[in-house]
Amino acid sequence: MGLFRNVICKILTYQVWEYIVTNIDPKSWINFDKARFLLLDDHQQGSSILSQIIRAFGVVNFIPCTTIDEARQAVMEHELHLILINANLKESGVYEFVNWLRRFDEPPNCYSPVILIAGHTQRSHVERARDSGANIIMAKPVSPASVLERVIWAAREKRPYVKCATYAGPDRRFQDLGPPVGVAGRRFDDPAGAEAEPEANSRSAMGG
């Protein structure tokens, strides 16, 4: 069972990584002048590192929060374009916060891209992190290039948002290959002809 889980994790990690690589042109321009970020981190040095990185990108409007209560308040009071969260908060409830955000019925914040930044994740928390509704989980230690790459990737995200009894957040399927070969599709948006040529009809979540 452990081996099976490890294999699945590796496949998922590979698939996610495959879609993250955005090939940012170093000569291109980025403009974060009008963007507002929320940064939730209770570790002073960790928060300081992220702040210094996003300041260098030109982010002038960001709300640093050290508790989940502060972050909830910020979500209710400000329009947020991106939310960066330390997944290893000392305070419990970080995944519940993301879930609350996704079920917070006021656009645009309920659809704001969420990047969970995780160090070591306790075995018992791995599934909760995956199902929290974050757009992406990035690994610590961070670097300026890795943060910028994920921020741009999150901004370009085109996955639809799903809401049901057990999950709220971006569609966890990164690639739509249609129904299995030889099986007729049941959904209205199954790719046409997917049964015959699934590869030819795959749709990427990257989009551009």
Partner: protein
């Protein structure tokens, strides 16, 4: 409750593309410069975290309680996050190994002070990059974790 699907285009992409701003290469260069400004306080914090881990391990004796295990885990996780940003990649890896060890020991309701102390000694060693054989230290820690708390017996 039936599942609903909503298509949403983040306004962030349009904001990023707006005229003005900075070139990517300049932003990354500035970020490195900004991180240099906080290098010293962050490394000082690493040393402080190491001292606290030493004390926690010394106080834990042969059977640490869950509170102590969690505190060691969290502080090791902080070291993992910070060390790698400032060129101490092997120290970051060693801290990650300590997190993995503690997580497995917590799941097994077990404790191994010698294994924890070996990790702490390694962290002290890897704090100073002039030392040699840094990669082999981390590999040794991974093997130690597999021996002390193998994954297949985890709860």
């Amino acid at each position: 409750m039936a599942a609903t699907f909503t298509t949403w285009k983040s306004p962030l992409e349009a904001l990023i593309r707006a005229p003005g701003g900075v070139r990517v290469v300049d932003a990354l260069r500035q970020a490195d410069a900004n991180l240099e400004l906080i290098r010293e306080p962050c490394l000082a914090d690493l040393d402080q975290q190491l001292d606290i881990l030493d004390r926690l391990s010394a106080e834990s004796g042969e059977s640490a309680n869950d509170v102590v295990k969690l505190e060691i885990y969290q502080r090791a996780n902080d070291i993992h996050a910070i060390a790698g940003v400032f060129g101490l990649g092997e120290m970051s890896d060693a801290a990650f190994c300590l997190c993995e060890l503690i997580d497995r020991l917590r799941n097994q309701s077990a404790w191994s002070k010698p294994a924890v102390d070996v990790h702490l000694s390694s962290l002290h060693l890897l704090r100073h990059p002039s030392k040699e054989d840094r990669a082999s230290v981390v590999e040794g820690l991974r093997r130690l974790t597999e021996k002390v708390a193998p994954l297949d017996t985890a709860a």
